[in-house]
Symmetry: C2
Subunit: 217 residues, 2 copies
């Protein structure tokens, strides 16, 4: 009764870590399934712990709150962004780097049905929607770091890159809202292209306007 397979498997992960990871995954899976079925507010923590077969108290040993179960995964998105930025061609301009990285990231994310389902869940749950804003904050931070790493980190550039990051993340957010408002004749890729087109055009127009009024900057 005491002997289990010790043969293959990860050499680094002891029984403790493995079980902990499994339990965490079990809670997460049970929670998401229930959320999608009955809604976030319609699911109590007890429902989750019963489905995952752990005590109510243990839930809080894995997640600090009910909301965190929904958002735990999404830190990875910001990290993927940093990778995507670094993966852009050497000779690309800053605008091209951003557009390229974001587009490829979007296409990847949108092909994951789980993510789409969670996105829908967040969209029609007010509490989650509020919390979701944090995602953009994180994204903005990561983007700023990634741009600094690639395009310089001088004191003068710092604020500029931060503003640029905020602009890009806002575009992403607004694009997301528009996309989810329905009625897309365009593919996601075309849509993204269109959004970036509008963004760059807006910047160019405003830039020209300001330069014209105040030429010596």
């Amino acid at each position: 009764m005491a002997d289990v397979q010790e043969i293959d498997g990860a050499v680094k992960e002891g029984r403790r870590e493995r079980k902990r990871r499994q339990t965490r995954e079990r809670i997460e899976a049970a929670a998401l399934a229930l959320f999608l079925e009955r809604g976030f507010d319609g699911t109590t923590i007890e429902d989750i712990t019963e489905a995952a077969d752990v005590s109510k108290r243990s839930f809080f040993d894995y997640f600090p709150s009910k909301e965190e179960v929904v958002f735990a995964w999404q830190d990875s998105f910001a990290d993927e962004l940093a990778d995507a930025i670094a993966a852009q061609p050497e000779d690309a301009s800053i605008a091209e780097v951003i557009e390229g990285a974001l587009t490829s990231l979007l296409l990847t994310a949108s092909s994951d049905p789980q993510r789409l389902a969670i996105g829908a869940l967040i969209r029609d749950t007010p509490v989650l929607r509020a919390r979701d804003q944090l995602k953009y904050t994180k994204l903005e931070k990561k983007l700023t770091e990634a741009l600094r790493a690639r395009f310089g980190d001088s004191e003068e550039e710092r604020l500029r890159l931060r503003l640029l990051s905020a602009i890009v993340v806002s575009t992403l957010r607004i694009g997301g809202e528009r996309w989810n408002e329905g009625a897309h004749e365009l593919s996601l890729q075309e849509f993204a292209q269109h959004m970036f087109g509008e963004l760059w055009a807006t910047l160019a127009d405003l830039g020209a306007l300001v330069r014209q009024r105040d030429p010596n900057r």
Copy 2:
């Protein structure tokens, strides 16, 4: 015992409305005083209702949650923004309108010690900080509306103005963060001027960059 003064006072506001308003104000005042004294989390709703001398249950008849007491007032900020936009000179460019309106709004807001205190409270209370993000959403919406009212509302312009609003609100947010990071040798007015200067310059640079790569837009 039944006769109270009915002489002067508002003719439109009956005793009912007046008392209700007074109670609401009493709760609000008591809550804010306690929050500032003991912190948001360190204050229970019972503390508030005792100080305001109403039942615990009545609290929820006036405010849907503890947080709302803090944020109830701040809807007015977005409305003031709309007014400030409308009040800008006729011949001002869109950039000038925005910079003018926001600057005057900022100066007004920063001279209200109550607002500053609440701002500080929000800043060092995580729950409130998360909720505070909604302010920017509202601001963005209002700004978009105000700009549309002033600069046209064609289908092509809609997205552009929405992007611009997001950009401006982001600048406001980032500026606020920078300002609160401390060490200001500049006055608030100078600081705002500097932030907008950086914003317009960033837009102009990016605009030029994009036009140069893709001249026919």
